[in-house]
């Protein structure tokens, strides 16, 4: 039963989001360097961290799928990656807005974290054409899991490599994220992070429940020997 616990989870997510938004705009002090613009940090960075953890979670679910051969893990992996990719879009857009506000350009190559994230996003974007290209559903699920595991291993390595590519000439622009952040900012940041994590989990559970519901309808149809409705996805794993 995928829907079990969805209601309290979503309530917790909403509450946490409301709390962190209030903290961002009424509690957190203004940043000395960037001023009001710094507030974007509280939506951009938690989204990014959550998305990255989500990608790694997709890899972990994929390992479970490969070891148990239980298709439900493939569905978990697929949905985890799906929600993380959507979060990724939000990360890149908010990152671009923040770049434009801070430095006047919609994109900067100076920010190693943003660039690393772009690369990770590009990789996971290929998950869909990759799945689509494999026709046999069994094989598709297996190969997708291999992809998710490989990509999950890729994430930390990629961040390390891009950070190293940063020439020592460019100052670390995200110094506010490292040590030296005042307590109130840290609290606000942590609340936002928890809120995004809860949101991610809620959306994953939500999508799994929806998939499960359509899976149950298909099961009903089969039990009644009724014609199966056309138009099922070639790539989204079925949940039953």
């Amino acid at each position: 039963m995928y829907g079990k616990g969805l209601k309290p989870l979503s309530i917790a997510a909403v509450a946490m989001l409301a709390l962190s938004l209030s903290l961002v705009f009424f509690y957190a002090p203004l940043d000395g360097d960037q001023g009001f613009i710094q507030k974007i940090f509280y939506v951009h960075v938690p989204l990014a961290i959550t998305a990255l953890i989500g990608f790694v979670a997709g890899g972990v679910f994929a390992i479970l799928h490969l070891r148990s051969n239980d298709r439900k893990w493939d569905a978990y992996s697929y949905v985890a990656i799906h929600i993380s990719v959507i979060f990724g879009v939000a990360v890149l857009i908010t990152g671009a807005i923040w770049a434009k506000a801070s430095w006047g350009h919609w994109w900067v190559w100076d920010e190693p974290t943003l660039v690393s994230f772009l690369i990770v996003f590009l990789l996971y974007a290929t998950y869909y054409p990759f799945r689509y290209a494999i026709e046999d559903r069994d094989r598709q699920a297996r190969y997708a899991s291999v992809f998710a595991v490989t990509a999950g291993a890729f994430v930390p390595l990629n961040f390390m490599a891009v950070r190293m590519a940063e020439s020592l000439v460019h100052p670390r622009t995200f110094a506010t994220a490292e040590g030296g952040m005042p307590g109130e900012m840290m609290l606000t940041f942590l609340c936002s992070l928890v809120a995004m994590g809860l949101l991610w989990t809620t959306l994953v559970k939500f999508e799994l429940t929806a998939k499960s519901a359509s899976g149950q309808v298909k099961r009903l149809r089969r039990a009644l020997d009724a014609p199966v409705a056309g138009g099922s996805s070639r790539i989204a794993p079925e949940v039953s």
Partner: protein
């Protein structure tokens, strides 16, 4: 149970002999690379390159040429039932991964043996940086071989075969390229080779090779299931 070493040698030998006899990938890869050098000469409007530009042109070309070879790595297995033979044989299936990846390293090394001197002749002022470049080339080849073999073995069983390898492999190879170009750039700088962070970049390459070698080794078995 056939010992893995025998199986490994057998598969590797078969691949290398087959390539030597038919020469289907290597000449194409080399020609592609040299032609790409010419395109870069005109595209960049430069007749001599150094530093980051030289490093970039060299590595971008090698990467794209490698993709050509990687695309074809498992084609013979697929068309002539090699996968089924491996499944039936009493050997550890990851031997196929190790053998194919090793074959790919040999192809890439052969490619570089031909194209890097040509690159030097076309664009470089002095060849002093080429010696230490060998270490960079070797470590990068290992990394490309690990991920390339993994992706290629999946792509060969799909519909958009030639499309999947470039699509998925390129983002995966970015850290490799970052480290490779990072190490190569000071080697090819105008004033003579310098070793700025050379050891660090080699370590990053080694780390990539280790991680993806292990990942490939761990998951390859699942790819061959029916």
């Amino acid at each position: 149970m056939t010992p893995s070493r025998t199986a490994f040698a057998a598969i590797l030998g078969k691949d290398l002999r087959s390539e030597l006899r038919t020469l289907q990938s290597l000449p194409a890869m080399a020609l592609f690379a040299v032609t790409t050098f010419v395109i870069f000469r005109f595209g960049l409007d430069r007749t001599s390159l150094s530093g980051s530009l030289a490093s970039g042109v060299l590595w971008a070309t090698l990467l794209f040429a490698a993709v050509l070879g990687i695309n074809r790595l498992f084609v013979s297995e697929r068309e002539e039932g090699g996968f089924d033979a491996i499944r039936l044989a009493p050997i550890d299936r990851t031997v196929l991964f190790a053998a194919k990846a090793s074959a790919l390293v040999v192809y890439l090394a052969a490619l570089e043996l031909v194209t890097v001197p040509i690159f030097a002749i076309f664009f470089l002022e002095d060849a002093a940086g080429l010696g230490p470049l060998v270490a960079v080339l070797l470590l990068t080849d290992l990394g490309l071989a690990a991920t390339g073999t993994l992706i290629s073995s999946m792509a060969v069983n799909s519909r958009a075969r030639d499309l999947l390898v470039p699509l998925v492999l390129l983002p995966l190879s970015i850290p490799l390229m970052i480290a490779a170009t990072g190490a190569t750039e000071p080697l090819l700088s105008l004033g003579g080779p310098s070793y700025d962070r050379f050891g660090t970049w080699l370590m990053v390459l080694g780390l990539y090779d280790l991680i993806f070698g292990l990942v490939g080794y761990a998951v390859f078995d699942f790819l061959l299931e029916d």
